[in-house]
């Protein structure tokens, strides 16, 4: 062990002497804010690496290391880059309120084999590496962005659609009763479904899908449940709501309780009929299938977001002979529901259901706003097709056409 200690001491002395005798460090170190960094946590560092490194006996240079520190703070190690590199990014800096950093670059040396093995065997706490660093730069502060300009097209489109929807809503709200809403068979059938379940003396099953409470399709499903529960309460028909999310369960209980109260039947409300099963997708399917086969509901309603379980649910419900109404915005599951259910609300019809069922003037007026927005989207699509075609022919017109298409595609 003593032998190793002697070797290690000699090495350390050699390293210090060699590096001090011929100090060669990167020069002209510059640091600046990374323009692509949105959060303000990255600096771009550039420097001039040394042309030649001195020969230090027993030592090899292993790379250049970016070093940084807060003004007057401790030095921290940044990324280690190859010896010929002249720039690097310094990521992971402390974000807002974005302190200023001083940056330097060092050449890092390491003992070469077999001396390195001797050093390792010595188990000394002597530094196994040496470094010669440049001067620190003046303090540089990375800055985050308050606005992402790459999203400008989305922002303008969203504002335009919101303005159209809200503008139309307030323009026509006084005469909302005159607005024609095309009959939606699936929603017209809701009353039939409740009536059928009532006549058969069977409950209704309402499945609000796999989405959590933050899923907009689940929210739409909960809105429909409110209307449905009012009617079910009026007919005194039992409604079973198995949930796969505890928050959805809690919200749906409150919605149904309120619906029964508004229908003047608060005593008929049974909170145990709205219950949590599991958040496992196929465990949930198995449990709901079991409920269908045991309870034999007179009507099954599937509203909200569904995935691979859609057809398993709908086919099992079909086998029990229940009238089935489905509504989802998951385009991949729509064919399965159309195949296995009596009525299907496709995409936007799910979101229109609340207005359709309630006929509330503001909600109906908003449907008109959606239609106006849709008209404008169709017009833009037609313009886009023309522009994309024109872009193929070259010339000034093609350039503008390409810009028009590119603005939407960016």
């Amino acid at each position: 062990m003593n032998h190793h200690r002697v070797v290690a001491s000699a090495l350390a002395l050699l390293l210090a002497a060699g590096l001090c005798a011929q100090p060669v460090a990167p020069s002209d170190v510059q640091a600046s804010d990374n323009p692509d960094d949105e959060r303000g946590t990255v600096l771009d560092v550039s420097w001039t690496p040394p042309r030649e490194l001195p020969d230090v006996p027993g030592m090899v240079p292993i790379g250049q290391q970016v070093l940084y520190r807060k003004v007057g703070g401790e030095i921290q190690a940044g990324p280690l880059v190859p010896l010929d590199a002249s720039s690097a990014s310094l990521p992971g800096l402390k974000p807002w309120p974005w302190p200023a950093w001083e940056v330097a670059v060092a050449i890092v040396w390491e003992p070469a084999e077999p001396l390195r093995a001797a050093l390792d065997a010595s188990r000394w706490t002597l530094p196994a590496r040496g470094a010669v660093r440049s001067q620190f730069t003046a303090p540089v502060r990375p800055v985050g962005r308050w606005y992402d300009p790459t999203l400008t097209n989305i922002l303008i489109s969203a504002l335009l659609i919101c303005a159209i929807v809200l503008g139309t809503l307030y323009a026509v709200r006084g005469r909302a009763e005159e607005i024609y809403i095309r009959p939606i068979a699936g929603l017209e059938a809701v009353n039939d479904a409740i009536g059928r379940a009532t006549e058969m003396g069977r409950p209704m099953l309402y499945v609000s899908g796999l989405g959590g409470v933050s899923n907009i399709a689940t929210i739409a499903a909960m809105l429909i449940l409110g209307h449905l529960a009012r009617r079910a309460a009026a007919y005194e028909t039992e409604i079973i709501v198995p949930c796969n999310d505890p928050l959805v369960m809690a919200t749906e209980r409150e919605i149904v309780r309120q619906a029964y109260t508004e229908a003047g039947k608060p005593d008929a409300y049974r909170p145990e009929n709205i219950f949590f099963l599991t958040d496992s997708q196929f465990g949930y399917v198995a449990a709901v299938d079991g409920i269908m086969l045991r309870e034999k509901p007179g009507a099954n309603l599937y509203m909200g977001y569904f995935a691979a379980e859609a057809l398993i649910l709908a086919e099992t419900g079909n086998e029990t002979g229940a009238i089935q109404i489905a509504g989802t915005d998951a385009d991949t599951q729509l064919p399965f529901f159309i195949t296995a259910c009596d009525y299907t609300l496709m995409g936007e019809e799910l979101y229109a259901a609340s207005a359709y069922l309630s006929r509330h003037p503001l909600l109906v007026a908003q449907l008109r706003g959606q239609d106006m927005a849709k008209t404008i989207i169709v017009a833009i699509l037609i313009l886009g097709v023309i522009a994309a075609t024109a872009a193929l022919f070259g010339g000034t017109v093609a350039e503008y056409a390409q810009r028009f298409v590119g603005w939407f595609a960016a």
């Binding site: 949105e38 303000g40 807002w96 962005r145 308050w146 606005y147 992402d148 999203l151 969203a158 659609i161 919101c162 929807v165 809503l169 959590g212 933050s214 907009i216 929210i219 739409a220 809105l223 409110g226 209307h227 999310d245 505890p246 369960m249 919200t251 409150e254 919605i255 309120q258 508004e262 145990e272 219950f275 949590f276 496992s280 196929f282 465990g283 079991g290 045991r294 057809l311 398993i312 086919e315 915005d329 399965f336 296995a340 496709m346 995409g347 936007e348 799910l350 979101y351 229109a352 609340s354 069922l357 309630s358 006929r359 503001l362 909600l363 908003q366 959606q370 927005a373 849709k374 989207i377």
Partner: protein, 221 residues
């Protein structure tokens, strides 16, 4: 108060999408953390509901009540082995998950193949123009995906070989042109519906999800 909270939270989420600034990101993450905290409280409600539902079933000896015993025992078993012995790979919890839960899930998922077959048989009866179009499109897609079936059916004849070359292209066209056009139409409608629903919730026009009368609260005809 709930409407004010909904409005402020909704507005913040909309604005935050366009702001990459650290403040926005930090508040956004904080709100997600709060959502998780609220969800964890709701989980207590969910577990209580689960246990109460199955206990009532056992107590009243409802149909298939023994399965409720399995559900309750499984729940407590997973709690005990998960809390007591951890849930890292190699633990009992993991073993039960890998060798019981995953195969059970896979079993349910595999039922889908049979349900697709039964649904397809029912749907592909050409009883109307729409059903006939669906049937024709399905034939193109299925044979395009497995064109060797044509060679088996028709042999290596001129027609068989021509269809073998033609069907994959026809299948791709069906999938890429009419199917995508239809899907995009649906997606446009869905997107507008999502924006409209979000707007009426953020602005308090729709309140029935809060359990109040509000916009959607009125009982329809």
């Amino acid at each position: 108060m709930p409407l004010v909270i909904t409005f402020l939270a909704g507005l913040f989420m909309a604005v935050q999408f366009f702001v990459p600034h650290e403040i926005g990101v930090t508040v956004y993450r904080g709100m997600l953390d709060w959502a998780m905290i609220v969800a964890s409280f709701a989980l207590v409600l969910g577990i209580s509901s689960l246990l109460r539902t199955h206990w009532e079933k056992i107590r009243r000896r409802r149909r298939d009540w023994p399965y409720s015993i399995v559900a309750i025992v499984s729940f407590f078993l997973m709690c005990i082995v998960g809390i007591g012995y951890g849930h890292q790979p190699g633990t009992v919890f993991y073993w039960i998950f890998d060798y019981i839960q995953v195969p059970l899930d896979a079993t349910m998922f595999s039922l889908l193949a049979f349900f697709i077959a039964s649904a397809a048989v029912r749907t592909f009866r050409a009883r109307s123009v729409e059903a006939t179009l669906l049937l024709v499109a399905a034939i193109f897609v299925m044979l395009g995906r497995v064109p060797s079936a044509l060679l088996v059916m028709l042999g290596d004849t001129g027609v068989g070989q021509w269809l073998y070359d033609f069907m994959p292209d026809a299948s791709e066209w069906v999938m890429n042109v009419p199917t995508v056009a239809g899907k995009r139409g649906i997606i446009f409608g869905v997107s507008l519906g999502v924006i409209a629903t979000a707007l009426r919730i953020i602005l308090g026009i729709e309140r029935s999800h809060l359990g109040g009368g509000g916009g959607g609260g009125a009982v329809g005809p």
